[in-house]
Symmetry: C2
Subunit: 215 residues, 2 copies
């Protein structure tokens, strides 16, 4: 479990945005990028960026910065994005459909190979080139597929039952977009996505900003 | 700017999930809830929970816990969710539609009063009871509405242009779901939502979990 202790969750969460900036530098033909440049681009403190990037094991050179190609590779490796993760979407509603069309995931190793839904009008259709199957077909379908991640976007009242079906089918990681705290066996990893978190930060930031503008 | 310094962004991001647990305790008729119970429910350390909740100013009693009703009120006040925030959605695609139907936002003071899109098939329709207007009508529409938040879910190549239109129309906070780093004047608050962050955490956690299972 050493990696968990070496890198805090906030650090892991910031790495994708660093990757974005560093990949843009690569596109611009740059060989090195400094922590200060990354920090400026993202509105963070340089010390924070350097501390976060230390988890990759890549060391920056004073006054030159980090080697772009090596750093990109190291972030991919650290995030385990240097290998493919096969995924399914369970619940092909608006959010599920939006996630299936999110171009970034594919670039980061996530392969969404099937979707499942209860709505007969959706079953058999393709969404963003991925076929939608009936929820009842899931156990059978998953036998043939080596699925690592299930993206859970069903209505909240179905979340726990579907999660149990996923666990029975051998899925070991659930990305939970419902507002239900899932009860799953210990060997199953759950990452809960709460859109209210971002709203909370926005709400506090904008209120402070409005208050300081009035001063 | 004292609140920003008193509460770190990770703390603010955790408060909505605490609120969820505490509101459930309220529904169950409980008058007090301990930091340990909240921590257990969310898989966090009790010390973390108590530290985070300290920002609300509500003090827990030893062996009894925090007063439920007071704590809920204090979290609402801290997150500025005790007042209404009028919002618009710009980009009524799948993600925009999903956000317009997210029931939690309404309970947290966010009132989505209009949506804007370029697609003629959507303009004039209602999505989750909210009318969709043409992007070209935005400046005019916003004159009559006191909008605090614009939720930006347009395709990335339109993000900067739409953000400039929003700023011109007087919007002071943008919740940015595109992968573009927006250039806006300093008085405008931007909160960037990066779905890759959650995927990064999931990816690292599940890889570590798989590795430790093999041991």
């Amino acid at each position: 479990m050493s990696t968990v202790k070496l890198a805090s969750q906030p650090t892991i969460k910031r790495l994708p945005s660093y990757l974005h900036v560093i990949e843009n530098a690569q596109k611009d033909g740059k060989e090195f990028i400094s922590g200060t440049v990354i920090a400026d681009e993202l509105g963070l403190e340089p010390i924070q960026v350097r501390k976060d990037l230390a988890v990759t094991g890549i060391v920056g050179k004073p006054r030159i910065g980090f080697p772009v190609n090596k750093l990109i590779k190291a972030i991919y490796a650290f995030l385990c994005w240097d290998r493919d993760h096969q995924a399914i979407v369970v619940g092909a509603g608006n959010l599920g459909t939006a996630l299936m069309g999110y171009p970034e995931f594919n670039r980061r190793g996530m392969r969404i190979v099937a979707a499942f839904d209860m709505d007969k009008r959706k079953i058999g259709r393709r969404i963003h080139d991925t076929e939608v199957f009936a929820l009842g077909q899931m156990a059978e379908k998953l036998k043939d597929l080596d699925i690592q991640i299930a993206i859970l976007t069903v209505p909240s009242n179905h979340a726990q039952a579907v999660a149990e079906l996923l666990v029975k089918s051998g899925v070991r990681a659930i990305w939970n977009f419902t507002n239900v705290k899932l009860r799953v066996p210990e060997h199953v990893t759950v990452q809960k996505e709460d859109l209210s978190s971002g709203y909370a930060v926005l709400s506090v930031k904008m209120t402070i900003s409005a208050a300081s503008a009035r001063k």
